[in-house]
């Protein structure tokens, strides 16, 4: 049964962010947490980043996208799902902050903007945070569970918005558009020589596009930054919880420890560590009884069963040993939960419910 502390967390939080490296099952865990919240009676939404096709189909009936969709299910609360569309979210932000339709159109058509909106590292993280904010402010969900992009450094979710924020920063903007106040002349001269030389390096077309973008963006950076700050506040208050997802292998657990440390440095304590896809141990009967079976000759079928059980138990024990060794250290303040590896992969709602129930 679901760990009661996890239930308590899902009841009291407004935001749950799932962090972790790629390939550990973050999206699946995020979806399972949102399902559990719905079972507990909350009006919950899950923002997925790059869900497996079958999971996306299970959540969105083939139409999962950037706008929240209600997931049909038999629970007291509600479950809604979103598959983040980074570009569309950025476009919506531009439209929201532009002074008029013309300014918005100029930006959306700009080649530099189109490249930045997809290629600049940290944009996806920025938009995940924006989507989180939008869901809370405008759709009034009780709880939003955010899956985060499978960054090499999962912390980019917290840091990355500053990277995009720097793009929109006054200094860079002034330099590139050769405008400024006060030390205007100096800035201009440096800017002009930079522009000339940079054009040689990256190509005049690229630079023209960049300058045009900043000119078009004029006046919007304040709106962007203010909204970003409000979004970050949502992640800093008591209503926010951070869930680290890791695999049962040593490298994955060590990375989770490292992440927890980095979060700690930013004053954030990890609420939960979920160790996913843990080998089941198939407990039952005494170890001696199994040892006897293995030692004594018997019908082949029975020996095959015994050898299989012994092997699976040994693997589970090895893993459990690693887990005990590593997970206690950093996440002492937080909850450590295990999710078992099932015989079948988790791709449907029923499987998500099973996973949620097995988080203990």
């Amino acid at each position: 049964m679901t760990d009661p502390s996890l239930d308590a967390l899902l009841q009291r939080c407004a935001t749950v962010a799932c962090l972790g490296a790629g390939g550990v099952g973050k999206t699946t865990v995020a979806a399972a947490l949102a399902v559990r919240a719905a079972q507990l009676g909350r009006r919950a939404a899950v923002v997925t980043i790059d869900p497996a096709r079958r999971l996306a189909d299970a959540l969105g009936a083939g139409a999962l996208g950037n706008a929240p969709r209600l997931v049909a299910g038999d629970w007291p609360g509600e479950l809604w799902a979103v598959m983040l569309d980074t570009k569309a979210t950025f476009d919506e932000l531009v439209a929201r902050h532009a002074a008029d339709a013309d300014q918005a159109a100029r930006i959306l058509a700009n080649r530099f903007y189109r490249n930045v909106s997809e290629a600049l590292a940290g944009t996806q993280e920025y938009m995940a945070m924006e989507k989180l904010y939008e869901l809370q402010e405008e759709h009034g969900f009780d709880l939003v569970v955010v899956d985060t992009p499978p960054s090499r450094h999962a912390l980019d979710f917290l840091r990355a918005p500053n990277q995009l924020g720097r793009l929109l920063d006054h200094r860079a903007y002034r330099l590139l558009t050769a405008r400024g106040v006060g030390a205007a002349k100096v800035v201009n001269r440096a800017a002009q020589s930079f522009v000339r030389l940079a054009a040689r390096a990256v190509g005049a077309e690229v630079l023209d596009d960049a300058v045009a973008f900043f000119a078009a963006f004029d006046g919007m950076e304040h709106g962007f930054r203010a909204r970003e700050l409000r979004a970050r506040h949502a992640l800093e208050g008591p209503g926010a919880a951070f869930v680290l997802v890791a695999g049962p292998r040593r490298a994955s657990l060590e990375e989770a420890d490292w992440l927890a440390d980095r979060l700690g440095e930013q004053g954030i304590s990890v609420g939960v560590l979920v160790v996913n896809r843990v080998q089941p141990s198939f407990a039952g009967g005494s170890p001696e009884a199994l040892a006897e079976l293995l030692a004594a000759p018997g019908p082949p079928a029975r020996q095959e069963l015994a050898a299989n059980l012994a092997e699976l138990r040994a693997a589970a024990e090895l893993e459990a040993h690693e887990l005990a060794r590593l997970s206690g250290r950093r996440c002492a303040g937080g909850l450590v939960l295990r999710a078992p590896l099932f015989a079948d992969d988790v791709h449907e709602l029923a499987a998500l419910e099973r996973l949620a129930a097995a988080l203990e």
Partner: protein, 310 residues
């Protein structure tokens, strides 16, 4: 040159290390290149190095092999700085680097960062830095963007140094005698889906040659009685133990089926040879595991996957 790509968590670095070891075992010199971060490669190659030290090629312990393996981590930031210095912008670039201004303009050109890294790799390949070059590439979604960058830039920057760089890199990628991509997955649905999608995208959009696909962490097939035979076999045993025996068998049978299904799906979707790597019991893979896996692949590799570049 071989570029190894696959979804995060499927063991790209493991395959890279295994191939490096196998090549060194045949007496070849090997250069392993990682982008931005070495990940588990130092551990897999038995290299104990400070992260910063890997900016230069660092030789791994020989372990009695006739060949040699060196590891180098390429940094897109360093590649950008070098590029700017080569074009007379070094001083200014360094001053502006603090304001992040140079970066964002350069990165505003689609895939410039990727192109610069590929350019550096091309330089090493051209210079014959090693008989075999293995690139531990990006996770699959990014692999497509990474390898598509030269074509995109050749189009958008129609003249000048970027264009020339892009064209030269394209020539390398498209030449099957010089370069191929090895895709990796585990025998599970999502990794296989991604591998197949990536394969098609690379062939259609980048025109790069695909080498064998590698499947990691395979479990040996174990003979097990079916449900009915299991129930019979446990009759008379302590009920708790009997239940455990039956459940464990059911679990293993199902996972074996899933594994077989995924391997079959992969073979059906892509007519490429498969390199099959067994799961290792160690809690953390190290050079000993890499040696075992490399030995297991010997027959599969003898088919000429790792010949020195001509």
């Amino acid at each position: 040159m071989h570029i190894v790509a696959g979804k995060g968590g499927v063991g790209k670095s493991t395959l890279t290390a295994v191939l490096a070891r196998a090549a060194a075992a045949r007496g070849l010199s090997v250069l392993v290149l990682a982008v931005e971060s070495a990940g588990p490669l130092p551990r897999l190659l038995g290299l104990d190095a400070e992260p910063g030290a890997l900016a230069e090629p660092t030789v791994a312990p020989a372990a009695g092999l006739p060949g040699a393996v060196a590891l180098q981590v390429l940094s897109p930031d360093r590649a950008l700085l070098e590029y700017l210095e080569d074009h007379g912008l070094g001083g200014l670039a360094r001053r502006l680097a603090k304001a992040q201004t140079v970066e964002l303009v350069a990165y505003g050109a689609p895939g410039m960062k990727d192109l610069l890294v590929l350019g550096k790799i091309k330089q090493l390949e051209r210079a014959g830095a090693a008989e075999v070059i293995l690139v531990d590439g990006p996770a699959s979604g990014q692999a497509i963007g990474f390898l598509r960058a030269p074509a995109a830039l050749a189009q958008s920057a129609r003249t000048g140094p970027i264009h020339h760089q892009a064209v030269a890199v394209l020539a390398l990628l498209a030449d099957p005698a010089r370069c191929q991509v090895l895709l990796v997955a585990t025998a599970e649905e999502t990794p296989v889906n991604e591998l197949v999608e990536t394969a098609f995208a690379l062939e259609e959009e980048v025109g790069v040659q695909l080498g064998p696909v590698a499947v990691n962490a395979l479990h040996p097939a174990r003979r097990l009685p079916d449900e009915d035979a299991s129930a019979e076999a446990v009759a008379g045993l302590d009920p708790a133990l009997a239940a455990a025996l039956v459940h464990a068998a059911r679990f293993r049978r199902r996972r074996q089926q899933l594994q077989a299904d995924q391997l079959a799906r992969l073979a059906a979707a892509l007519p490429l040879p498969q390199l099959l790597l067994a799961s290792r019991p160690s809690p953390e893979l190290g050079p000993a595991d890499v040696a075992v896996l490399a030995a297991e692949l010997t027959d599969q590799l003898a088919a000429g996957l790792l010949s020195p570049a001509s």
